[in-house]
Subunit: 351 residues, 2 copies
């Protein structure tokens, strides 16, 4: 058996008493319309194969984003889109560009495909390395991954920087927008426009975070036909998304007002939580996501805080990795959950 | 973009007037218990990630097949299990053994992984080539695929032959049992016992056919820990099956009496249909699946029959491929659908 770099997903503990602030789920339930569609779904429809390319969902996404439907691909969670991008655009043995530290699954997927990775380390302030493209090009990278807003820092990269990368890079640039729904609308961030200007950009979207549907496994990609068509027609499993998931995903995109309201609440609580953590001595990175990357106060160890919170049934994320070992990544919860977190930290830091 | 061998799935046409006998769905609806679980599913559960390894489903499958739960892996349809087996056990550049003609997706998945394939052609009577293992071994194959009961012939390979292959083969033998539910129980076919005797066997099961859940995308694998654990812990996407699919799959395996009844009805109608097609001049291969591979009467062209049936809103499968171009593959439908097919063929053949 081959040895893998080993992706470690966040813990999924059961129990109503657990406060889960470790895997960046939306703290609010899915839209009522989704429950309605689920209730009304006729089980007899499951007898036959689902629509192989999720045509109805793609039409709705096409309308929402104002792109042609053939520039949308539906996938079994965003993770499948990442895998498809690698399988489609990277020959085994070739290289994949990263901006590190980043989502650790990229490296695992590269390894599974027999591809290598090349790192363009983020600057100390988590901004993009100015040499990102040259580092990628020198390694012959065929694909590059940028998370935006970034994980784990939460920073938002301006579209001008992404556009410059796409222009200079000979390969396909994947912009992983898993957290884009939580960006402050007043910033007018919009990377979909980049797909019209560059035929080598693939945007990743997911319903897991913004639409409160992590349990459903539904993501999608947006990009030029040059990028989307080969994944749609050649690489993906014939029936990659199931009939129920397709129906609920359509309902989710249709319930924009409900979803937008949850995003606004998360943004409001994110700012509140950042202030309170700063007061406790944490250094908070500015975040346009539904989580905060915070550096522990000098008098405390991030790892010990993580472990003590866990004993108090509060799960946050700790990365035992370079540049992150003194940090915690904390998902924005409900107001009550955030209050409990702050209370627990106050006790731990005064203890 | 790389050039693919191109998997062409069966057509999925909409419309109540279409008689779909082309993609081997079960003609009967899923068990009532499945509709009940779907109705009772709380949409709020979708907010959080699903159980990453489908623990509850694996426990139920473990009880059903009398194997330890850690020897079961749940997948997003059987197709995902095929892909995982290749990704786990075949280095890019290495070879994969086939028994041709066979399920055309194997070759596509091999190509996507950068692996080659080596063919052990089936004998003229569709039995296994006696040199299968030596052909595979000489090419250095690390994985071999056998469909049983076979597609597209419908024949059942005895477990003694599969056991002999597993013993002689240095790689992993995947036995694709997509159609196993339709095997006559009086034959006492049971390949699960082989998993206990050979640590290099992986059995593929799917809920798409036997359990009338093609729309759900749920399959699973059974095998030794040596085979299952690496796929479970290293290769598969972290959350490959969604929360609803897991719940419905549990209900499906729990409703054995209902499912078994549909299998018995399919077997009864399969035998009836074979007799009627034989009367019309077709040569029917003996089938232990829910389809029949039939050779067209000498006075007719299989391709023309396929096209004329299609004009009559009856879809069957035609393969424009060596050894199959004078054949049709016909899914066993309901009694009424089978009657319509026979009536249409009578008209076409007398015309």
């Amino acid at each position: 058996m081959k040895q893998s770099p080993g992706y470690v997903p966040g813990e999924q503990l059961d129990g109503a008493s657990i406060i889960k602030l470790n895997t960046n789920e939306n703290p609010y339930p899915p839209a009522p319309e989704i429950a309605d569609v689920l209730q009304g779904f006729d089980a007899a429809r499951l007898r036959v194969y689902p629509a192989p390319n999720a045509a109805q969902f793609r039409t709705i996404a096409s309308d929402l984003h104002n792109v042609p439907a053939d520039q949308v691909i539906a996938t079994n969670g965003g993770d499948e889109l990442l895998r498809l991008a690698i399988a489609t655009f990277v020959e085994p043995g070739a290289s994949i560009g990263l901006c590190t530290p980043t989502y650790s699954l990229y490296e695992v997927l590269a390894w599974l495909h027999g591809a290598s990775t090349v790192d363009a380390p983020l600057n100390d302030d988590w901004t993009l390395n100015a040499d990102t493209v040259s580092i990628w090009q020198n390694a012959g990278a065929r694909l590059g991954f940028v998370v935006n807003p970034q994980a784990p820092s939460g920073h938002l990269i301006p579209t001008s920087e992404l556009s410059a990368i796409a222009t200079a890079f000979d390969g396909v640039l994947v912009i992983d927008e898993a957290y884009v729904d939580f960006v402050d609308p007043s910033l007018h961030y919009d990377a979909v426009t980049l797909c019209r200007e560059h035929d080598n950009i693939l945007l990743l979207r997911t319903l897991s975070k913004g639409y409160s549907l992590a349990g459903l496994r539904f993501g999608y990609g947006l990009g030029s036909s040059a990028v989307v068509t080969p994944m749609q027609t050649k690489t993906k499993d014939s029936y990659n998304t199931d009939a129920i998931a397709q129906a609920l995903a359509c309902a989710a995109l249709g319930a924009q007002d409900y979803a937008s309201d949850t995003w606004a609440r998360v943004r409001r609580d994110r700012d509140q939580l950042a202030k309170r953590l700063t007061t406790l001595g944490f250094a908070c990175e500015p975040s346009e996501t539904n989580f905060l990357l915070v550096r522990a106060p000098e008098r405390a160890s991030a790892k010990e805080l993580y472990e003590c919170l866990r004993q108090n049934n509060i799960l946050v994320r700790y990365f035992d990795a370079p540049r992150l070992s003194d940090c915690l990544r904390i998902t924005i919860g409900t107001e009550a959950q955030n209050d409990e977190l702050i209370r627990a930290l106050e006790t731990l830091l005064s203890g």
